[in-house]
């Protein structure tokens, strides 16, 4: 019985309501999410103002990403040729399963027991950690927030700052449980422990695993950004470096890299640049005394190519994973990342998850987790029209016949009633009479059917007896009596600016 309840909650669509309720009941989470997103939002605004010409920058960034995605076949070919020329190995994997098996092969060849991971959303997308666990390979998340969550056996609630839902006491408890020592809930103490503990993993790991913020096609370089330095650590110390990259995370040249780097840090946190931005071109060279001896790059499709050639959704591949959309989304603000039930949350997650998983039935429900306010589009540094895409996802659901019968009937009725003024007038009249039993002191406080969703938290005003169009004749008479249009204003002396 309880097993069934757990399963349902994990279903992206079916469990959405339950996850929403849980999130809304979690005061600490809500405060943390609001505080974090306010901070990041403000940081971005300041950075935008300081930088100047933001709309021009957005347009340039959009043009570059568009160009790459439209020519992905060319640039991935160029990129992989160049990686191979440096002695690196490239594996093109169409499915997540293929990517996981590829990584396991590499790990096996290296007899790897310990993998140190830099932050990689793609590795979470393919559930790599779970598979490594099955094989008895220890995989440690080295991004501080991800490390905390790994110990707590939880998933991230924000793309950039994953553990915002944890307070210092909780983190202290998590570290205590791990180490057997007790820690004061003070940032300095906790960070100090993490530094020392993770350092050991950096030194001992057989494989360093990272994602890739931007690959550079012209040189075969991989760009990694981090503030903590863990990205540098895992791509420098272990003898084997494996990169897992979404196939669209590419720019043609270093010239273009400058543009996207300028946009990424500013949009994500309001910084000009993250502390560490590293461009890795192949494994260590002859004569070098540090750096990995082996470089492997796993290029992942996993549902991305399904968006190519789709005039509506291809643009979703332009995303640079800055999370600016999360930071302005009023829905995300209240429910946090877990509510979305998937690796990618917020507005980008609501669009990407159904598309990548090619699942409009369950994941497609995320398209409704939005009031279509458009803040995400406004914030996006590469101008992805996420608000339009959400509506288009809903349209796709309708076309696939995946919406409830009652809803389809309701909108067909709407088309009939509102497509014709006579029927519309009849409908308006009947609303007036139908509402009567529900009205208390001029309001409907307890709605029935779909209205119950409204009255759960609001009063609904009553429909007045006469619609505007029934009062129009009288209004016309009133205006005629006033005289010619404009005569009132000149007499009054109101300005025409």
């Amino acid at each position: 019985m309880s097993g069934q309840a757990i399963d349902e909650k994990q279903l992206i669509g079916t469990g959405l309501k339950k996850r929403t309720e849980e999130a809304l009941a979690n005061d600490f989470l809500r405060k943390a999410v609001a505080f974090t997103t306010d901070k990041l939002r403000t940081g971005k605004r300041q950075a935008m103002d300081d930088f100047g010409h933001w709309e021009e920058w957005r347009e340039r960034a959009r043009a570059i990403r568009k160009h790459v995605v439209e020519n992905l076949d060319y640039y991935l070919t160029q990129f992989s040729d160049n990686v191979a020329k440096t002695g690196g190995h490239v594996y093109f994997c169409q499915s997540g399963e293929e990517a996981v098996r590829t990584f396991l092969d590499i790990a096996e060849k290296r007899r790897a027991k310990l993998v140190a991971k830099g932050k990689s959303m793609v590795s979470e997308e393919i559930h790599l950690n779970h598979r490594l666990e099955e094989k008895g390979i220890e995989a440690i998340e080295t991004d501080l927030g991800e490390y905390i969550l790994q110990l707590a056996k939880e998933t991230p609630s924000h793309l950039i700052i994953p553990a915002i839902h944890k307070n210092k006491q909780q983190i202290a408890d998590i570290f205590s449980a791990e180490s057997g020592e007790s820690f004061a809930p003070e940032t300095k103490v906790l960070a100090g422990y993490a530094r020392q503990r993770l350092r050991n993993y950096f030194l001992e790991a057989d494989i360093g695993l990272t994602g890739c913020n931007f690959a550079v096609a012209e040189s075969g370089s991989i760009t990694l950004v981090s503030n903590e330095g863990n990205g540098r650590m895992v791509s420098t110390l272990p003898k084997c470096h494996v990169v897992v990259m979404g196939m669209e995370r590419l720019v043609p040249s270093y010239d273009d890299l400058e543009v996207v780097l300028n946009m990424l840090a500013r949009s994500a946190t309001g910084q000009k640049l993250t502390t560490y931005t590293s461009m890795i071109t192949g494994p260590r060279r002859e004569g070098e005394l540090d750096g990995p001896e082996e470089l492997h790059v796993i290029v992942l499709d996993n549902g991305r190519s399904a968006q190519l050639g789709d005039p509506v959704f291809q643009e979703v591949l332009h995303c640079i994973r800055c999370a600016a959309c999360l930071n302005v989304c009023p829905v995300y603000r209240h429910v946090g990342g877990h509510t979305y039930g998937s690796v990618y949350s917020g507005p980008i997650g609501a669009v990407l998850t159904p598309l990548l998983q090619q699942d409009m039935k369950e994941a497609g429900q995320l398209a409704y987790a939005s009031s279509l306010c458009g803040a995400c589009y406004e914030a996006c540094p590469v101008k992805i029209p996420l608000h339009d895409m959400l509506v288009q996802l809903r349209a796709r659901k309708v076309k696939l016949g995946l919406t409830p019968l009652a809803e389809r009937v309701a909108f067909k009725t709407y088309q009939t009633a509102f497509g014709n003024v006579t029927l519309y007038r009849m409908a308006a009249k009947s609303v007036y009479y139908l509402q009567k039993p529900l009205i208390r002191k001029g309001y409907i406080k307890q709605g029935i059917g779909p209205l119950a969703g409204w009255t759960q938290s609001r009063f609904l005003p009553m429909k007045p007896k006469k619609s505007f169009r029934e009062r129009w004749e009288e209004l016309q008479r009133e205006l005629k009596a006033q005289g010619r249009p404009g005569s009132g204003a000149s007499a009054q002396g109101g300005d025409r600016a």
Binding site: L372, F411, R458, G486, R496
Partner: protein, 248 residues
Amino acid sequence: MRVSLFVTCLADMMYPDVAESVVRLLHRYGCEVDFPELQTCCGQPAFNSGYQDEAREVARNLIRAFEHSDYVVSPSGSCTGMVHHYYPQLFANEPEWKAKAEAFIEKTYEFTQFLVRVLGVEDVGAYFPEKVTYHPSCHASRLLGIKEEPQVLLSNVKGLEFVDLPHKEDCCGFGGTFAVKMADMSEAMVCEKVANVCATNASVLVGTDMGCLMNIDGRLNKENKPMRVMHIAQLLEEGVKRGERTGD
């Protein structure tokens, strides 16, 4: 100048006073206002829920209704935004209707947009000595780019003490069917909006969209926090009357 009123189904059915204020103000500034009877709705409720075919038929009726109008003015940033932003896409596969839609878009304005940009009116000579805060509706500001017009109009109202609304750019939680379909999320959003509105200590909340205002007002009433919630046309009209009375 002939102007046709696009009343919107919401104002027509629920807020006829707002539409009347719009008409009176337009009349005041030399517009001969007519009301094409065939109009019903812009189709947004169906469109936003993904029912594009149904929305298209309702939109078709709206375009027909205004075929002979010179200017079309609406008291809703949301409905005007629907027309501007989505009609070309709705009729993308019908060249004849796409052209009609584009012609319709060319002449259709939201009320404050029309007042300020077309009629060139920034000061209606209003007197409204109250503390007022303004909620910028998402569609008006983001789909139509209406950022300054309402502020300009309000700034010229004598006696009006303007208080900025904290987190004003955050959606109020209406979103049409979102309010009932995702009731929990909508509730959280409207509660925060109401908290921000009350924090201003304003006596009046003003806006350009009755959908938003109905939503916020509905919550204010449930929380028993009475506050006047007005469409900007109503505020300006009342201000004009008060101005006339005091002879300002």
